[in-house]
């Protein structure tokens, strides 16, 4: 799966957050996350999902194709590589 990526800055110098634009929306991407802890909030005007696994947190609107991904500070490079490998293997 192709993707575009942009680093997201916030108040904290060690934060490692990135936004990924994918060719599918959250509704179709979230089911691909097997063995992740997933919370979907459908009480909001636009439903939003938050998925967590091994310190990696993915947030997305179910109807959107922008995915905010935060990686743990102590191993962000390894986790980022792993996540991007996972994306690249998706059809």
């Amino acid at each position: 799966m192709n993707y575009a990526i942009k680093k997201i800055e916030n108040c904290f110098q060690n934060a490692q957050s990135y936004e990924y634009a994918l060719p599918i929306d959250g509704e179709h991407f979230i089911p691909l996350l097997t063995n992740w802890e997933i919370r979907i909030n459908r009480k909001l005007r636009r439903p939003v999902a938050v998925a967590q696994k091994e310190g990696v947190i993915i947030k997305c609107a179910l109807i959107g194709n922008a995915f905010r991904v935060s990686f743990p500070q102590n191993c962000w490079q390894a986790e980022k590589t792993k996540f991007e490998d996972f994306l690249e293997k998706l059809p």
Binding site: N10, C11, F12, N41, K43, L44, R45, R46, P47, V48, V50, I57, K59, C60, A61, G64, R68
Partner: protein, 369 residues
């Protein structure tokens, strides 16, 4: 979209602001006429209008620049604070004060940052004690915390600092246009301000008022359009500290905003009521709300149990189309006083409606587990 980030930049602006900026951009710049008697000098008109808002008679002492940060840097570095001097300020300050002070500390200036109370307000007794103890050359405080909205008693803080012989610089970025400022009556020496928050002007407007008789060393040097055959900046204010071409289109915009606000005065009690309603509503649903007593700006900072502030901000934005700010709000030192690590900040404006406040409350309720 519901805009609740007015403590950063106000939105919307009165329509006349857009019109004034567009008109200015479509006409030749003012300096092309070389200040003839018939030419309109928007900067002079703006200074005169700002003098009303700042509570000063000396409009020529108002230097215009891009923002409050510019004004604060001019004030802090222009005073001639040197090694061995002391500057007293507070942990409630924005990085636009803190970072210049850190620079001074690298030059062996002693920097004392006083705690605020748990709502972000400076305790006048703590401040007065510090003034007596440290006898600083410069005292700097924010008129209101940009994190909590707590407004400081500027007159009392200024009097204590003046009694100790300090020059007093106040950051009015969070208050001018929202909370009355009386710079001369309160005895202030300098006030930095910005045009793009509660003054309702465009980004890229702001400045520094300097009390008559106080001379700063210019922090920026450059062209002034006059006295160009001299090697130094003109001695007279505001040119003394106002180098470079001004932001004329935005000056027209800010002038229009100020004139509009004079015709349509802010209903502070209505805005306060909305702020309180939001604050109470959040507290009732279990949020930890920082609720300053007394005078405050229309800012509500809060956290929710077990949900990180950045996630709340994301859910508000993506799930409810609500624009707010999360994190440290460029005021990192205050959080040790507030006993939280970061907050979600909602900041209202005179244009915020009751329906928008209710929609925010409903959305936050939807975020709760």
């Amino acid at each position: 979209m519901i805009y609740m980030n007015n403590a950063a930049t106000s939105y919307p602006k009165p329509p006349c602001v857009t019109e004034a900026v567009a008109k200015a951009l479509s006409q030749p710049p003012g300096d092309s006429s070389r200040s003839g008697i018939q030419s309109q000098d928007v900067f002079e008109a703006l200074r005169a209008e700002l003098a009303f808002w700042l509570g000063v008679n000396s409009s020529q002492q108002i230097a215009l620049g891009p923002n409050a940060t510019w004004g604060l840097n001019l004030g802090i570095f222009g005073l001639g604070v040197t090694a061995g001097d002391t500057v007293v300020s507070t942990k409630g300050e924005h990085n636009s004060v803190l970072r210049p002070l850190y620079r001074l500390s690298q030059h062996r200036v002693r920097i004392i940052l006083l705690d605020t109370d748990a709502t972000g307000r400076v305790d006048p007794q703590v401040w007065a004690n510090a003034m007596e103890r440290y006898r600083p050359k410069l005292a700097v405080f924010t008129h209101a915390s940009n994190v909590t909205g707590a407004v400081n008693d500027a007159e009392v803080l200024t009097a204590a600092a003046k009694n100790a012989g300090a020059v007093v610089l106040m950051d009015a970025a969070q208050t001018l246009g929202c909370i009355p400022v009386q710079a001369e009556a309160w005895g202030l020496d300098m006030v930095a301000f910005t045009g793009h928050k509660y003054l309702l002007g465009p980004q890229g407007t702001g400045g520094l008022w300097v009390r008559p008789g106080l001379t700063l060393t210019p922090y920026l040097l450059g062209g002034t359009g006059i006295l160009s055959d001299r090697d130094t900046m003109p001695a007279a204010m505001p040119m003394h500290i106002e180098a470079g071409t001004g932001n004329e289109p935005s000056a027209y915009g800010l002038l229009a905003a100020l004139q509009w606000q004079r015709k349509h005065p802010l209903d502070r009690s209505a805005l306060e009521a909305k702020t309180q309603y939001l604050s109470h509503g959040l507290a009732q649903m279990g949020a930890a709300v920082i609720a300053p007593a007394g005078i405050r700006t229309p800012v509500v900072s809060f956290t929710l149990p077990e949900i990180p502030a950045d996630e709340i901000g994301y859910l508000l934005h993506e799930g409810g189309d609500i624009i707010c700010r999360t994190g440290l709000h460029c005021a990192p030192k205050i959080f040790s006083c507030l006993n939280v690590t970061q907050t979600v900040r909602l900041s209202l404006s005179r244009f915020t409606t009751d329906q928008e406040v209710d929609a925010v409350l409903q959305t936050v309720e939807g975020i709760l587990p």
